[in-house]
């Protein structure tokens, strides 16, 4: 059955990755280079962070070393957020787990092996959850489709493979960057939002949908926003998904209210106007009230997590070191993003201005995309994930991995993409050049930062091309189906829509 094949795939991939990680660990353990590290996980992390994943596997927000340092400081009673300006800190929620015993650093070989295995598993299991959530998102989206029963099984087989065996994701989890957890939490939020049931949706289509999914989704989104503030831009489309439905309606563009009206057992033709104004206003206010309810619940969870974080640490300064880093960019560590180079070059006088510009740049895509794709909020979420991967303050490989994995959920747009092949080539181009130039710059000392930033710009170009193509394809579908219908009505025969592609 579909489920079984999905689970088998996931299990196989996880086993393969755990074995791969163990193998890498043992390969690196001869005492030549890394003998002075006592901790077992450090060898592989160091190898990744100075090797293939140089500068891109972890950002200052997700660095394993930062996590360990905060835990270590916290366990000894010192303040992990106290060292002043320019500090990037991990969320206090990680510190809640500080009373667990640390991974055994020495001792009998069996304990070492077990703790090594535990460490590897701890950073590979979230990817299993992510893959599972991806499949659930697909299922929620495809549940109303009639013609894809035969191909859906292959998709459920391929989708976990895309995510689990993607080099972006593997490198992130080997480097023990906390973004594997962030991805899993985000995908969980989206999956539960897709499966949730609200008053505006039709009867439940899935066998395991329940009314708790909405709360679970909002809690997980609150958790994700706590871990990294950039994900806040994904809140509006998530609210739309919660109110609407994740099924693919790219072919039916129209106002959200119209969709809601259709679902509320009021049968209307898309072209007919609503007869009475008070009903429309009443509809709008109903939608608004529902949205405010969802938002209120999100704020409740968010505040609860904030209070717990404050309880953990004892003061409020953690906000400026965790959330404030995304906004104010205290750390100029190079990363595959666009921000750091800019800010190393400008005068301090212009820094607040450019901080505003870059942050607004991230925010300004939310409203247009949500408005334009209000008929298919999951697609809006997908595009915003791409924007997050390209334009956020400290991106890493896992953001791009998430975006690429998301592409697998929307196969209906593939025929309408304008330039998939150049986009893929540019992406591969930048993916190969980035670690190369990072090495030339930092390890060999022969290149300089411009090489690396150029390759990063090429990567951003690939991301931009992918986003633009996705937007084009999404709207092209609507034009085709909608236009066909209109033309059919007008002229009585089918005509083909021809656009630039």
């Amino acid at each position: 059955m579909h489920w079984l094949s999905c689970r088998k795939t996931i299990t196989l991939c996880i086993v393969f990755r755990v074995l791969f990680a163990l193998g890498l660990d043992f390969y690196l353990s001869p005492p030549t280079s890394y003998a002075y590290y006592a901790d077992n996980g450090d060898k592989v992390v160091e190898f990744i962070n100075t090797g293939p994943g140089l500068l891109s596997a972890s950002s200052p927000l997700t660095l394993y070393a930062n996590l360990k340092e905060s835990l270590w400081l916290y366990q000894r009673g010192m303040d992990p957020y106290g060292s002043g300006i320019g500090q990037v800190g991990v969320s206090p929620l990680y510190l809640a787990f500080s009373f667990f015993p640390t991974i055994a650093e020495s001792g009998p070989l069996k304990t070492q092996l077990l703790s090594k295995l535990f460490g590897i598993f701890l950073w590979t299991a979230p990817d299993a959850f992510s893959a599972w959530f991806l499949v659930r998102i697909w299922k929620a989206r495809a549940s109303s489709r009639t013609s894809t029963n035969s191909s859906s099984s292959s998709i459920t087989f391929v989708l976990p493979l895309i995510y689990l065996l993607s080099p972006y994701v593997i490198l992130s989890s080997l480097a023990r960057s906390t973004s594997v957890w962030e991805n899993a939490i985000l995908l969980g939020a989206i999956a539960w939002a897709c499966e949730s049931e609200s008053e505006f949706k039709t009867k439940p289509k899935l066998n395991n949908s329940n009314s708790k999914s909405k709360s679970k989704s909002l809690l997980f989104l609150a958790l994700r926003v706590h871990l990294s503030l950039d994900a806040l831009i994904l809140l509006p489309p998530l609210i739309l998904i919660l109110l609407g439905s994740p099924e693919s309606r790219l072919a039916e563009p129209g106002p959200f209210a119209l969709y809601v009206a259709k679902r509320r057992s009021v049968k209307k033709q898309p072209e007919e106007k609503l007869p009475n104004e008070p009903a429309e206003n009443h509809l709008r206010s109903t939608i608004l009230r529902a949205a405010l309810n969802v938002l209120f619940e999100f704020m409740v969870y968010w505040t609860a997590l904030a209070l717990i974080s404050t309880l953990i640490v004892g003061h409020w300064r953690w906000m400026s070191t965790t959330w404030g880093t995304s906004l104010s960019l205290p750390s100029m560590t190079p990363n595959p993003g666009l921000w750091w180079y800019f800010f190393t070059e400008m005068f301090d006088h212009f820094r607040p201005f450019f901080l505003v510009v870059f942050n607004v740049h991230l925010l300004m895509y939310v409203a247009p995309i949500c408005i334009k794709f209000q008929h298919d909020p999951l697609y809006a979420l997908f595009i915003l994930v791409g924007i997050l991967a390209t334009f956020k303050s400290y991106p890493t490989l896992s953001d791009h991995g998430l975006f690429i994995a998301f592409w697998g959920i929307f196969p209906e747009v593939y025929p309408y993409l304008r330039h998939p092949f150049p986009t893929t080539l540019v992406l591969i181009h930048s993916a190969l050049l980035q670690p190369l130039f990072a090495h030339l710059w930092l390890s060999h000392g022969t290149g300089n930062a411009n090489f690396y930033y150029a390759s990063t710009l090429v990567g951003a170009c690939a991301g931009g091309m992918a986003i633009v193509d996705a937007v084009w394809a999404g709207l092209r579908i609507a034009l085709e189906r909608h236009g066909k219908r209109e033309l059919k009505f007008v002229e009585g025969e089918e005509r083909e829509i021809v656009t630039q592609q």
Binding site: L95, A96, F99, K216, Y301, A304, I308, I312, G314, H315
Partner: protein, 413 residues
């Protein structure tokens, strides 16, 4: 009968001590100057740092040493061994460790600063570490190294100090009572010309090469890429390794250790302004063969100004000049045999205690005590038992998740 003999004895004692009183010093100072800049003059900085190390080892404290380095060789971007300066090709000894104090660095090493330092004519804003706070009973060791020529020394590649200027500065010091004796050593090309113009009493000088002769570097290090030490300084330092704080080696021993074939140039000595003998007079003055022995080629000869009057010094019952007179911080030690001074071991309670978590809330903990103005019992217990915070948070987090997952929060159907 007893009183006159006692008074005679005291008179005799005072007379005797007064003979030595004029040459007694009570403190030692050192001025070590490297006047050349740029990476290829690494050896000059190594010279000065090697001399600095020796001077410190023999007892002069940092507060009495003025070290002037015209450039930073240790943190030069061309230095493969960053933060280290070595004076031998095997790189056995790092002269630039963690405990050096450079008083004048980089562009502060100028002729004007050097002369102002010597004469003491500094503006009131100059800190104590940059002043030569000597008095009339100070022995000063002044060491200059760099590029020089006939009666000049080049500073920083753009100016020079002449031997006349230094001689005048020394005379100002003499008239101001700023030294007891000066030992002047210079390692440059044609170095002996630098001390040829002195005219103040109490100066003993030595240089590395005669007029018209170059001084050579000693060894290259092929990993650092430049020459790391000068010949003259290398052999002087090698000799000084035999000297410790209590040795009775004399200046004559130092000067007679000069080995011309090894050094590569003809060092010189000037002692005519120095009133003490350089070595013991009996039976054979060690300096009698200075400059005439093997190794000293005929044409160069051994330059020694004051050779003629050396023999006359011994008759005046002065102490001979010991090396430690200029390098050590100790003149004579009075051993106190009292047992009053006792060493007390510190008890454990006086030591800085390591932070024991539950009972001592230090100010560095995450729970900042000033913020908990309201001394509610909950916050206090949280502070005294730090493990409560994460466990409580963990429990609350788990409760939140259980609430949400069990569906109690989603009230609407």
């Amino acid at each position: 009968m007893r009183l006159p003999s006692l008074s005679l004895f005291l008179l005799f004692y005072f007379l005797l001590s007064s003979c030595d009183a004029s040459s007694q010093h009570t403190n030692n100072w050192a001025v070590l100057v490297c006047s050349s800049r740029y990476w290829f003059n690494y050896r000059h900085m190594a010279n000065a740092l090697g001399m600095y190390r020796t001077v410190k080892r023999l007892g002069i404290p940092d507060s009495n040493i003025i070290l002037m380095l015209a450039d930073d060789a240790a943190c030069n971007s061309r230095n493969k061994f960053a933060g280290s300066v070595y004076a031998n090709p095997g790189r056995h000894l790092d002269l630039y460790g963690e405990n050096i104090e450079v008083d004048y660095r980089g562009y502060e090493v100028t002729v004007e600063n050097f002369l102002r330092l010597l004469t003491g004519r500094l503006s009131s804003s100059v800190p104590r570490s940059k002043r030569l706070l000597t008095d009339s009973s100070s022995n000063i060791f002044i060491y200059l190294t760099g590029h020089g020529g006939n009666e000049f020394l080049k500073f920083q590649d753009n100016e020079e100090v002449s031997a006349h200027d230094i001689a005048d500065a020394f005379h100002q010091m003499y008239e101001g009572g700023r030294y007891n004796e000066i030992f002047f050593m210079v390692d440059t090309c044609q170095a002996n010309s630098m001390y040829s113009k002195f005219y103040s009493p109490g100066i003993l000088a030595t240089g590395s090469s005669v007029v018209g002769e170059n001084s050579y570097s000693h060894e290259n290090d092929y990993d650092i890429g430049v020459a790391v030490i000068d010949s003259y300084t290398h052999y002087v330092l090698e000799y000084m390794e035999k000297v410790n704080k209590t040795s009775r080696l004399t200046m004559a021993d130092l000067f007679t250790s000069y080995d011309v074939p090894k050094i590569g140039s003809h060092p010189g000595v000037r002692s005519d302004l120095f009133e003490r003998p350089l070595g013991p007079g009996n039976p054979n003055h060690p300096m009698s063969e200075y400059g005439r022995g093997r190794g000293w080629t005929v044409e160069g000869g051994g330059e020694w100004m004051g050779r003629e009057i050396e023999a006359g010094k011994n008759g005046r019952a002065f102490r001979e000049a010991l090396i430690t007179d200029f390098f050590g911080g100790v003149v004579d030690v009075d051993v106190n045999n009292e047992d009053d001074a006792e060493l007390r071991l510190f008890e454990d309670s006086e030591c800085i205690s390591s932070p024991k978590a539950p009972l001592s809330p230090s100010t560095n903990t995450y729970s900042s005590p000033p913020s908990s103005r309201s001394s509610s019992s909950l916050l206090d217990t949280l502070d005294t038992y730090p493990f409560l915070r994460p466990s409580l948070a963990f429990i609350l987090l788990g409760a939140l998740f259980v609430l949400v997952f069990s569906g109690m929060t989603s009230g609407r159907s």
